[in-house]
């Protein structure tokens, strides 16, 4: 839970400071996304079962935070709260010291399924958020979509229909679509869980490359412990329903990370710790 360890990698720290130094100084507590004693209950009756409770979490700007926990522990609930799609019944979520009270349009969301629109080409799918929000897209937007597609190696697929692409490619398009509005916060809800193991690893490293070149605050929900360790700066481990914070772990692995890191002692220690939390929650809770 050591706050200062959050920016274990110098490069990330630099990025965070260069980008918005003035604003960072004004808002002294430099948490970007802050959850204060957040809890939510889907049942409107008093004393209804809580989906999540007592969540306290500060996410720093351009930090990569992964959330792991058993299914149904309210991981997605957390993500929807940050997006403003769900207003917590207890506590408060704030972004840049402003409480989240309505859906935010400065977040990009990547879902478990790519959820591309089957009637639009890849490029039009990428442009869809703009078209949907404003009703039209400009030439500049189209150029930006092209750049993003080139960056992710999808340029040659721009005019293909989604069903002509493999699952991994479709999810890449899903990520590009989330990046189009250049959001500061990227919310990813088990984005790679529908992919095969090899594709999953590759797309994870691709995501890290994108994040290195275009720093964003990432909240990444996953079932895979090794994926969380490989990608994140910090890992939030949640208990089963009602979801609470079991541990908040600093990963402290140097970046850039490669598949080799998965053999390091630190990597094994971390996965072991997290596994311990998930399989024997009572020892800590």
């Amino acid at each position: 839970m050591n706050v200062m360890n959050a920016f274990s990698t110098p490069s990330i720290e630099n990025v965070a400071h260069n980008d918005d130094q003035a604003t960072q100084k004004e808002t002294t507590p430099n948490a970007y996304v802050r959850m204060e004693d957040v809890g939510h209950c889907y049942d409107p009756t008093p004393d209804g079962p809580m989906a999540v409770q007592h969540i306290n979490l500060d996410i720093y700007r351009h930090e990569f935070v992964a959330v792991v926990g058993p299914s149904g522990c309210g991981k997605s609930t957390l993500l929807r709260m940050v997006a403003g799609l769900l207003i917590p019944s207890h506590g408060e979520v704030s972004v840049f010291n402003k409480p989240v009270t309505e859906p935010r349009d400065d977040v990009g969301i990547v879902f478990q399924k790519p959820n591309l629109l089957p009637w639009l080409t890849v490029k039009k799918n990428v442009l869809f958020p703009l078209k949907h929000k404003y009703g039209h897209v400009s030439l500049e937007d189209k150029k930006r979509a092209d750049e993003l597609l080139t960056m992710t190696g999808l340029a040659s697929f721009a005019d293909k229909m989604p069903d002509e692409l493999s699952g991994g490619m479709q999810q890449r398009v899903g990520i590009v679509r989330a990046l189009l509005l250049n959001p500061d916060i990227l919310l990813m809800d088990e984005p790679f869980s529908a992919l095969d193991a090899l594709t999953r690893e590759q797309i994870g490293f691709d995501l890290l490359d994108i994040w290195r070149d275009h720093p964003k605050t990432v909240l990444f929900i996953t079932h895979s412990i090794s994926e969380a360790v490989l990608l994140a700066d910090r890992i939030l481990v949640m208990s089963k329903r009602p979801g609470t914070v079991l541990d908040l772990i600093d990963v402290n692995l140097p970046r850039p990370r490669t598949a080799k890191d998965m053999n390091s002692t630190r990597f094994c220690e971390l996965t072991e710790t997290i596994r311990g939390h998930i399989y024997e929650p009572h020892s800590r809770a």
């Binding site: 859906p103 349009d105 969301i109 629109l117 009637w119 078209k131 949907h132």
Partner: protein
């Protein structure tokens, strides 16, 4: 089997038998494939032959069951222009009713999706209308609205709109929740959520509804003609029967079915032309 090259066969004796086996199974495969292709037609033609032979060998009187050949004769005994007059009368009512039905049901479905209140108030009324047999209501509608096209179109509408409402609402409700959340997080206006996400998602469902409705539209038009009309294929069948011109009635029936089938296929063609992505993928 003769296609196996001789020298190769001499050099690789064991392989030759293998090769000839594959050629033989290839021929077998070809026959199987062609058989599957023509099986429906062969079956249909043999049914017609069976029908014809029963009529001829059993000396069945034509006013009981006319033979296929007598039906064909009767068809060509009616002049082309007379067929066209009746066809146009039926087609006009059926298509008008169908179009009016589309114009009513799709906006209605959107309203039902958007408003819980409308869903609670209007939907039960729609179910009541749907459960009332149209054949029973048709004479009342004629009394109420006269014998013009309007009442016939209304009868057609009553029978066609419900499958459309059901399929459109089902399709719109099947839109992935994540896309609705995407729309909400973009704070897009709701009409764009409807037009850019929900309606396109409903297209495959809408078209299966349209396929059901177009055949029902023909049924609606014929029911209306049975009650009150001076023209139309339904009317033609009815008066042919009442004059004991049974082969002619059968000819009308066959023509009507053919038109209905053609309209059904047309809906499919329109879908393939306008929304090719919405068709199930061929494997």
């Amino acid at each position: 089997m003769n296609h196996t090259p001789a020298p190769k066969a001499a050099l690789h004796a064991p392989q030759q038998s293998h090769n000839s086996k594959t050629t033989a199974s290839g021929v077998k495969q070809w026959f199987k494939k062609q058989g599957y292709r023509f099986a429906p037609w062969l079956f249909f033609i043999s049914l017609l032959i069976l029908w014809e032979s029963i009529c001829r060998l059993g000396h069945v009187p034509t006013y009981i069951l006319p033979s296929p050949s007598s039906i064909i004769n009767a068809f060509f005994n009616v002049s082309f222009s007379r067929w066209m007059v009746h066809l146009w009368a039926t087609l006009r009512v059926a298509l008008l009713g169908f179009i009016v039905s589309i114009l009513i049901s799709i906006p209605l479905s959107i309203a039902l999706i958007r408003s819980e209140l409308l869903n609670r108030t209007i939907y039960p009324v729609l179910v009541v209308i749907q459960s009332t047999p149209v054949v029973a209501v048709a004479p009342l509608i004629i009394v109420l609205m006269g014998t013009g096209d309007a009442s016939r179109v209304l009868i057609t509408c009553l029978i066609t709109f419900f499958p459309l409402v059901v399929s459109t609402t089902t399709g719109m409700l099947e839109t992935p929740q994540e896309l609705i959340e995407l729309s909400q997080s973009l704070r897009a206006p709701r009409y764009r959520e409807t037009w850019q996400i929900r309606i396109p998602y409903a297209i495959p469902h809408i078209f299966s509804g349209l396929r059901v409705s177009i055949t029902l539209a023909i049924i609606g038009a014929v029911v209306a003609e049975f009650v009150a009309a001076e023209q139309g294929l339904g009317y033609f069948i009815q008066f042919s029967t009442s004059f004991f011109k049974i082969p002619q009635a059968f000819a009308g029936l066959v023509f009507l079915s053919a038109i209905s089938l053609l309209l059904f296929k047309s809906v499919h063609w329109i879908q393939a032309w306008l929304f090719p992505w919405s068709l199930p993928k061929k494997k």
